[in-house]
């Protein structure tokens, strides 16, 4: 019986791997100009190039965007998984700590505050900032505050509520800023909240990859501890886990991942909440040895598909990625839940 489960799992891993490569190349192929997979492969692996224009699109636009999608999808999914396990709450996601709200506040202050407060700020301060830096400062300030609070309180539930409060606080400030800002800057901010995968230079991707890589590596290092935490705090302590230390490590890993992603591509919601559930339902387990790798891969696939849909194949228009993740993902989660009828953390 156990061996049949194992083979079943191996087949699913294999399918996941195949799906990953398929969606990766499909993602590169879709866009305002459709490029055949053959052309992509020739452009990447072939010795000579026939079409320098397509070559340029593939290398400077499509591949970086696909890589960004992979990093973003994988990172958000694993940080959602971490938060669900830490807070023992199936509704937790990468943004429960208020990290995205912090980033939004930073971006809003930069985009809209600059016009509202422009008269009072020196020009060099406004000019030299970019939305990314403003958003990073916002998200990491929130992370710092939450981590400081976490070392003082025992109760993770209190921490969850504090994170939500930070979210409400920053949304309130953002609303006030929006109220006073000009039409143009408000539109700019709204566009930022839609999320955008295609705006990253290679060096940006490197930084993003580094942060998400460190966060994911830290999670993998804590696989056994995360599994022990599934038994609840009493058992975790009795197994020799220092709850404070482990919680802080998990918080910081999540903060690095979710904070950097929000700063670079905007607040992409839903994915981090949904993908861990999809993996739990498909693999029918809560074991992090399975959930961490599958969430990474599934998240990447999910993001690649969402982005491919967002490109609206055959048209020059691009839909906001943030809407597509939920539009495409929610039915899957609902379908899996109705079919399996069993939700477990």
């Amino acid at each position: 019986m156990t061996s049949s489960i194992n083979t079943q799992r191996k087949i699913r891993y294999l399918l996941l791997g195949v799906l990953f490569f398929m969606t990766f190349f499909i993602n590169i192929s879709f866009g305002s100009v459709e490029i055949s997979i053959k052309t992509i492969l020739e452009s990447v692996f072939g010795p000579t190039t026939q079409n320098s224009q397509l070559d340029y699109i593939i290398h400077h636009y499509r591949i970086p965007k696909a890589i960004t999608a992979v990093i973003v999808g994988a990172g958000l999914s694993i940080s959602g998984l971490l938060m669900q396990t830490l807070f023992k709450n199936p509704l937790a996601g990468p943004y429960v700590l208020g990290i995205s709200s912090g980033a939004s506040l930073g971006a809003a202050l930069y985009i809209m505050g600059a016009t509202a407060l422009g008269a009072f700020l020196p020009q060099w301060l406004i000019g030299n900032w970019s939305t990314t830096i403003a958003a990073s400062i916002g998200s990491f300030s929130v992370l710092f505050i939450v981590a400081t609070v976490a070392t003082r309180i025992k109760n993770t539930m209190a921490l969850l509520i504090i994170g939500l409060m930070f979210g409400s606080l920053s949304s309130a400030v953002v609303s006030i800023l929006a109220f006073f800002s000009s039409k143009e800057s408000l539109q700019k901010f709204v566009f930022w909240t839609y999320g955008n995968l295609g705006n990253l230079a290679l060096s940006d991707i490197g930084i993003l990859g580094l942060f998400v890589g460190i966060g994911s590596f830290v999670s993998i290092l804590n696989t056994n501890a995360l599994n022990a935490m599934l038994l609840g705090n009493d058992y975790a302590i009795s197994l020799g886990i220092s709850l404070k230390k482990t919680s802080l490590i998990i918080l910081i890993a999540t903060g690095l991942i979710a904070g950097s992603i929000t700063a670079f591509v905007g607040p992409i919601a839903f994915l981090g909440l949904a993908v861990p559930h999809i993996c739990r339902l498909i693999w029918n387990t809560s074991n992090h040895k399975i959930l961490i790798p599958t969430s990474l891969l599934m998240g990447a696939i999910f993001m690649l598909i969402s982005d491919s849909i967002a490109q609206l194949p055959g048209s020059a228009k691009v839909l906001p990625i943030n809407a597509i993740t939920a539009l495409f993902g929610s039915p899957i989660v609902i379908w899996l839940l109705v079919r399996k009828k069993q939700i477990q953390l």
């Binding site: 009493d234 020799g240 387990t285 809560s286």
Partner: protein
């Protein structure tokens, strides 16, 4: 060397005040014996367990394990000496019995190591000892209360600690499973040389099965063999006498308004 309480006072501490629940205890839990902790609701049984487990800090005094204060034993070291079965606690149930029992090996694993041959053997042995072989691949949520209790005991067993602390392992179990659990605990003491402490409301079963009993009353605690506690008349004063009284001849508690009277 044993599990020892020195002038231990337990309770809850807040920033401004502390609420004493029970104590002071000054006693040594004998090794390789089955000790039952009894007392009415609110007498401090669970508080005592949580103090031993370091979820709560003692108000005064200390818990010593093998002569060393528990506070000074590093958490990973402690996890190799003491294992627990708790009552009310969040647990994910989306894992198989095998996976649950395997978590007992956590103190012996480093960050991502695969279970060693010894780990696998310990897990198997714990499952066999608790007669869960047929259910090894079953999810926890699909188990009955009795099977679940056994699975959590197996998890504690896999931790391979000389001391096992169980908080109300008999609650929610019928007579058949209570008897099964009691004989399992006695078997663990006898065959595996474990020192087991468990809390219970079933005083009658504790009297006939446990080697020692720690009885918690409002102002005092008593620790002795069941026979001596009966002689001392401890059970007579455990509950308010107008409703329940202890009959030493049958070692049973009887209700005043029940038909037998």
């Amino acid at each position: 060397m044993a599990l020892e309480f020195t002038d231990l006072i337990i309770g809850y501490k807040d920033r401004s005040k502390s609420q004493q629940i029970a104590g002071p205890f000054d006693l040594k839990i004998p090794e390789k014996k089955l000790t039952a902790v009894i007392g009415k609701n609110g007498s401090g049984k669970t508080t005592l367990i949580k103090t031993i487990g370091q979820q709560l800090t003692s108000l005064e005094g200390d818990v010593l394990l093998e002569g060393q204060s528990l506070k000074n034993i590093p958490s990973n070291q402690r996890a190799r000496l003491l294992s627990f079965v708790f009552t009310t606690t969040f647990s994910s149930e989306n894992m198989t019995v095998n996976e649950l029992v395997a978590l007992g090996r956590y103190p012996f694993l480093n960050w991502y190591s695969k279970p060693s041959k010894k780990d696998v053997e310990c897990i198997r042995e714990a499952i066999v000892f608790t007669a869960l072989e047929a259910l090894a691949s079953t999810k926890i949520y699909a188990l009955s209360d009795g099977q679940k209790q056994r699975a959590f005991i197996a998890r504690a067993l896999a931790q391979e600690t000389p001391y096992m602390i169980l908080d109300e392992p008999m609650s929610h179990l019928d007579h058949h499973h209570k008897a099964q659990l009691l004989s399992l605990m006695k078997k663990l003491v006898k065959e595996k040389n474990k020192t087991i402490v468990y809390t219970t409301h079933d005083i009658e079963k504790a009297i006939t099965n446990a080697d020692f009993i720690l009885a918690l009353t409002e102002d005092k605690s008593f620790f002795n063999t069941p026979e001596n506690l009966i002689k001392e008349g401890v059970f007579d004063n455990l509950f308010p006498k107008e409703q329940v009284y202890f009959d030493p001849a049958t070692t049973q508690f009887l209700y005043r308004d029940s038909k037998s009277k």
